[in-house]
Symmetry: C2
Subunit: 403 residues, 2 copies
């Protein structure tokens, strides 16, 4: 059996994701699609709309065969670390290829850009440092440096978040000389940041989340998501009584920032350059998460970077915690499978170099504690009576579809 | 001018407190009554019903001339440390005497009990250790040990919380050879723990709080409190939109316990003997503060002792924090005064051995940070829009009545 891997967040799973799964399988000529999915908190520093189990269920219903969790030390991270964690798990799971969507649909620009940057590393790094010093955010500095350097025409536009991620996937695989092969397919989805829904059956997850947040019912999203996604979302409301968003965690984040000392804040992962002092000041006066973020935002920090700091603050993840587990993922946490995925797992199981976790209670390792704590904190975004329910799900068995 | 000191919590200020202030003034033949009052959190490990400013206002309207705050390292503490902090401030403020209410109204039993315990310290301590080992709580062990030892008839009943506090006041003054003289007057108030209101114009603060919590209006308490107390409570609701109680802080406490590591929990003041493990376990399943407390309660710990641990957890006060400031109060924080009190302050001001703080923003000392943090956390018990308002009050000038 041949497997193709994809790296996903499914926040929520929509028609563009069906296309990605189906086309990846075809492009790789694979029998199985394995998704590596972030857990409670996402790469851009946000709580997921619904928990990882609900998202795994949507994925299985939409054509994915196996869903694994990207552990916390890799999930809420800048593109490079996020990609390293995900691609390394796909390599461990013996995938033949991984496949990502890109605007262009050709792999050449990614390969050329990777090689170009490797060949000009010192020049590039120096230019990045220069722009950082001038007060740019890292993505801005990297993109300026890159534009100044490149002579070749067939390179990437690195101002596009999707291109940055794709490049990091390629880099993760090639720089570690993994066996896994990179593939890319043409994206038909809307732009990453597009917030308005359109007439096309494909809309960005951002747009779909906005439609969900704006209305109290889910009928407006049915053009853009599989019927199963809508059902899972409806079921989530029935069981947990709300979705998750940053504002629900704001009272806790505010409390964390005000009750911790500045030294304790500075111990938190990604908190640096004295931003802890401004955080204390702004948390005291902001009356919502959005207001807090707006007060905190400067040219030097992207919104996303500050949001990631906020996730680490919320989960109280310290620099030391991260350092201990960031080398490479040390376990394979199975969230969901269908019979086809189960068959594949059965075949590769014996040769897996990492423990396969299908029930949390059976695995008592310090490395998974960050995921557990993230879920415990994530549960607190629900009303009191439903919090414990979510943690019970966390300790349960994987989701299985079409048994 | 001659001053008498009293040690209070005023949660809220009621008719029994008017009697205490007036009678103390008379018993000491004093011109001025100075109250040392706990701040945001109380001796028994609870958030105060209303903030310290509102309680200072009630006190001034009810006949008290000066109100000072008992700093956090002394306020949320067992009787001994609470009394040491309060009596030491009254000594610093050059009070001629301090006066507390007792069931009996005579000082002799307190003096005799103090001397008796001093004379039999080793025997007493050994008996206490014995009962603690057998699984008793400290108050229970102390009371059993005392009953086994005493031969004299005119000693105290140490199962009464008010007698324990009174004895600790006497001990605080005599053991440090302070100039301040102990006095006691007959209590006419209801029992400490009485929760039902009666026909008498005196009811316990516990009963009054219960009446406030049970009904949505304040008319039922008017028999038991001065008109000014009712007005201040009503005004509090108008400005801050709610009173404070433990349940309002439960989501934050739960979050604190779940997001901290067990090592971090064990660093918190008063957390010992491995209770941090049970706290983590119970916080995950309890759906209210009351349920959490009920699950946590054992014979070894009094309800009050666990509540105090919860306050220190909520304010994130570590063992190290407390050790640094617990020797003796290092500042005098003025919360309120009337013209008579101001006159007294003017007279003693020059010879004060400690800084007199009448505006927080003018005093930037690490020792007061615990009070500020307690107020910041206390403010989070209000709805979002009123939290900042409460902190603005914290940085303002003292309350002044009848200028």
């Amino acid at each position: 059996m041949k497997a193709v891997g994809i790296v996903v967040e499914y926040n929520p799973f929509h028609n563009g994701h069906v296309y990605h799964a189906v086309e990846s399988k075809q492009a790789a000529n694979a029998d199985v699609v394995i998704a590596i999915m972030s857990g409670s908190f996402l790469q851009r520093g946000e709580p997921a709309l619904v928990n990882k189990w609900a998202r795994a269920k949507m994925a299985l219903a939409g054509g994915v065969d196996l869903v694994f969790e990207l552990p916390y030390p890799f999930a809420t991270q800048q593109a490079g670390i996020f990609a390293q964690g995900a691609i390394s798990i796909l390599e461990t799971l013996d995938c033949d290829a991984f496949c990502f969507g890109s605007e262009d649909g050709r792999l050449e620009p990614f390969m050329l850009t990777y090689q170009f940057l490797r060949g000009n590393k010192d020049d590039f790094d120096e230019k990045v440092r220069h722009h950082l010093k001038a007060g740019c955010s890292y993505p801005k500095a990297a993109s300026l440096a890159f534009n100044e350097l490149q002579g070749h025409e067939d390179v990437l536009d690195l101002t596009q978040p999707n291109n940055i991620l794709g490049l990091e996937y390629v880099k993760a695989a090639l720089s570690k000389q993994f066996k896994i092969k990179p593939l890319t397919i043409h994206r038909i989805a809307a732009g990453y940041h597009e917030t308005e829904l359109s007439n096309s059956p494909i809309a960005s997850a951002t747009g779909i989340r906005k439609a969900i947040a704006d209305k109290t019912n889910l009928k407006d999203i049915i053009t853009y998501v599989p019927k199963s996604t809508k059902e899972v979302l409806q079921q989530y409301l029935t069981v947990y009584h709300s979705f998750h968003d940053w504002e629900k965690y704001w009272p806790l984040l505010k409390y964390q920032i005000l009750s911790a000392s500045v030294a304790e804040l500075a111990d938190i992962y990604e908190i640096e350059e004295g931003i802890e002092f401004r955080m204390k000041e702004m948390a005291a006066i902001a009356s919502s998460f959005h207001e807090f973020m707006t007060l905190l935002k400067t040219k030097r920090y992207t919104w996303t970077r500050i949001q990631r700091m906020c996730v680490h603050l919320l989960t109280r993840t310290k620099k030391d915690d991260m350092q201990a587990f960031q080398e490479a993922p040390s376990y394979l946490r199975l969230l969901g499978m269908n019979p086809n995925g189960r068959e594949y797992l059965r075949k590769i199981k014996k040769n897996l170099p990492l423990p396969l976790i299908s029930r949390l209670s059976a695995f008592n390792d310090p490395s998974i504690q960050l995921d557990i704590r993230a879920s415990q904190v994530y549960a607190l975004g629900l009303s009191q009576p439903y919090q414990h329910l979510l943690m019970q799900r966390e300790y349960g068995s994987p989701v299985i579809v079409n048994e």
